[in-house]
């Protein structure tokens, strides 16, 4: 399952990231924010007015907003 499909509130661990599908700078920025192999994430909020973009993720004690395309590059394993 990829992170964009994870139901809100459900915790998961990132098991693989398809970095090549992302722009280099954005890939580095995501990694710097701790979104990398092994990180534990939760989808806390998603979209406005019924849309599915953007997504607010909880990573550790931090909250990070990303687009659905970024989340789709991350393979997760629900915990």
């Amino acid at each position: 399952m990829t992170l964009d499909l994870l139901p809100p509130g459900q915790s998961a661990r990132i098991v693989a990231v398809d970095w090549d599908s992302l722009v280099d700078e954005e890939a580095r920025r995501l990694r710097a924010l701790g979104l990398d192999d092994g990180a534990r994430v939760t989808v806390s909020h998603r979209g406005v007015f019924g849309g599915r973009d953007p997504i607010a993720l909880s990573v550790g004690r931090m909250k990070v907003a990303v687009r659905r395309a970024h989340a789709a590059a991350m393979e997760v394993e629900p915990l």
């Binding site: 909020h45 007015f49 607010a56 909250k63 395309a69």
Partner: protein, 615 residues
């Protein structure tokens, strides 16, 4: 020691670095740009316990020394001493958010590994305590190998200890431990260090997750944001009025004082008609700008601005931008200049350029006087139902026209000139906190000062030049000064160009001085029509101007004039700021061309459609 030593603050964004900087240096700060780039350089003075004064700089917040934005590139270069024209800092204070250790320790390790004299400020320990965290700074000190000082910048807690530690770090040898860990290894180490530092952690339901449930709610969130924006705009226009009146009164009194004190001469005319009328008409917008920035700074300091960007991201994505563009565009409703400067926070260069190019389409406060005069003169004061006034509706339509224009231009630009991979939106959303009044006031003072300095330099010069153009060559007996002047001759030439869109020569003449600032168009029209009312009674003058306009312009002409001002780039300062922020004349030239083109088409279409409709 011949040279003043330098200490730099460094840390992740949202670590409370700016608050710590304010607390350590006070309000006397120097804000400039790093040479050659548009990244803000903030510096101030701090006195060490020994009495030695040192220069403190606040480096842009970074996640890594492997930069992904212009801001991070500056931090990485300065700290390594590789930035041309900027000497490397002698010592570093790494600022950590105490409640976000696991994340912030990754960057901290990277900085400490450089081997410079370093002290760690374990900042915002009060918020960590509020979150139920009990921390052991000694454990962190052992793990990192450098002195760790717990601080609460906004309450001035731990500042003396921090200064003491910095002074000692200077005397000590830099940590000899050579750190060659990879990012992944650092993250594992950060996790272990955070675990060792956190003594206990209660699972208290945190305030901000509850706030987020409401403020980021898919339906309630946007509604709350729009309600908040409505209040902000009401405040900008309603609260500012008394202050604007006071400032206008003061400018008027000053003008009268000059007229009384100085005998009639060209020099006096320059002072009253040029300097006071020109600079004065811009300075009166200071209250609106201060009020808007009060809200913007409060939204930023409280952590809400990142939520607003999150809520607006979907809409901005529709035209190829991201939520990050929302803050600069919001600022542009007061004035495009602070708006364009705020685009510095946008990491993607094409995103940033697009935002700069559309910022002047947000209806800035300088257009209001023009809109107000024309609407009052030509739009009947009646309601169109549900208590909605026709005049207010027209004003609202002009704002909407600007926003729609901006969205369409962004859409087109992102598919042509600023084409590139769809820009993403990756943004840390900081914890909510109560804004600190002192930090807000320092921020407001800095914004106000930038605005006033601009009024005193660029606008002052442009106004004087325009006055010279309007005053020379001198008119002879029985000639009109306006007709004879350089500006008058330019207007006659310009009139040929704007005739097809319904403008007459008087309108063309008003456009020339309005290049300095849009609102000058009003006073310029007033002068041209030689209104008989006394100069000190502005209301009578405005009324009389309205009557004059009604007698000389048709409704289609007036509507075309309004449409022109929605798009026309009639503001030299915006062009000057764009040149500075894009490092060249290419983009400001493009901005001028496309905005004048749009203004010409919009005014022409309005004129001919209105004429065909028999208005």
């Amino acid at each position: 020691m011949s040279r003043q030593r330098k200490i730099a603050l460094i840390g992740n964004p949202n670590a409370g670095k700016s608050a710590l900087f304010n607390a350590l240096t006070g309000a006397r700060q120097k804000i400039a740009n790093y040479p050659g780039v548009t990244v803000e350089r903030k510096s101030g003075r701090m006195v060490l316990p020994s009495g030695e004064p040192v220069e403190m700089t606040d480096l842009p917040g970074s996640y890594s020394l492997d930069p992904t934005s212009p801001d991070e590139a500056v931090t990485a270069k300065v700290i390594r001493g590789e930035f041309v024209g900027e000497s490397a800092p002698d010592a570093l204070i790494v600022v950590l958010d105490a409640s976000n250790l696991e994340q912030h320790l990754v960057f901290a390790q990277e900085v400490i590994a450089l081997g410079k004299p370093t002290v760690v400020a374990l900042n915002m320990v009060d918020l960590a305590e509020r979150d139920g965290l009990v921390l052991d700074p000694q454990a962190l000190e052992q793990a990192l190998g450098v002195k760790v000082v717990p601080t609460v910048a906004v309450r001035r807690r731990g500042l003396a200890e921090l200064a003491e530690a910095v002074a000692q770090a200077e005397l000590r040898d830099p940590p000899s431990r050579i750190n060659t860990l990879s990012m992944v290894e650092r993250r594992v180490a950060a996790h272990a260090m955070a675990d060792a530092t956190i003594v206990s952690e209660s699972k208290r339901h945190r305030l901000h997750s509850r706030l987020d449930k409401l403020l980021l709610h898919p339906w309630m969130g946007p509604l709350i944001l729009f309600a908040l924006l409505f209040v902000v705009f009401q405040a900008v226009f309603a609260w500012a009025t008394p202050f604007v009146d006071i400032l206008e009164g003061a400018v008027g009194v000053l003008g009268e004082g000059v007229i009384e004190a100085v005998p009639p001469s060209l020099g006096r005319d320059l002072l009253t008609e040029g300097v006071l009328a020109g600079v004065g008409s811009v300075v009166v917008f200071l209250p609106q700008i201060v009020i808007l920035f009060f809200f913007i700074l409060a939204m930023e300091a409280s952590g809400y601005m990142a939520r607003a960007a999150f809520l607006m991201d979907r809409m901005m994505a529709g035209v190829g931008l991201s939520g990050r563009s929302f803050i600069p565009l919001l600022s542009s409703f007061a004035c495009a200049i602070p708006g364009i400067m705020a685009t510095r926070s946008i990491a993607d260069s094409r995103d940033r350029l697009t935002t700069i190019l559309i910022a002047p389409l947000m209806t800035c406060s300088a257009r209001l006087p023009v809109y107000a005069v024309i609407i009052a003169a030509f739009i009947p004061q009646r309601t169109v139902g549900w208590g909605v006034g026709l005049q207010g509706l027209v004003l609202f339509a002009l704002y909407v026209a600007g926003i729609l224009g901006a969205m369409i231009v962004a859409l087109v630009l992102r598919r042509s000139l600023t084409k590139g991979a769809a820009s993403g939106f990756i943004m840390e959303m900081p914890k909510y906190q109560m804004p600190n009044l002192k930090d807000l006031l320092i921020g407001l003072w800095q914004r106000a000062w930038i605005f006033l300095r601009r009024a005193g330099t660029i606008i002052f010069m442009v106004t004087v030049v325009l006055w010279l153009f309007l005053s020379f060559p001198r008119a002879g007996e029985g000639e009109s000064q306006v007709d004879v002047s350089i500006a008058g001759r330019l207007a006659s030439g310009l009139a040929v160009v704007v005739e097809p869109i319904g403008f007459n020569r008087d309108m063309a003449l008003a456009l020339i001085p309005a290049m300095a600032a849009r609102e000058v168009a009003v006073s310029s029209l007033a002068t041209t029509y030689a209104v008989a009312a006394s100069d000190d009674d502005e209301e009578a003058q405005a009324m009389a101007l309205g009557d004059q306009l009604k007698a000389r312009w048709t409704l289609p002409m007036a509507l075309a004039f309004l449409a022109w001002f929605v798009f026309a780039p009639q503001c030299m300062s915006t062009i000057a700021v764009t040149r500075r922020e894009t490092n060249g004349w290419k983009w400001p030239a493009f901005m001028l061309a496309y905005l004048f083109g749009l203004a010409y088409i919009a005014a022409g279409a309005t004129f001919w459609i209105a004429t065909a409709a028999g208005l």
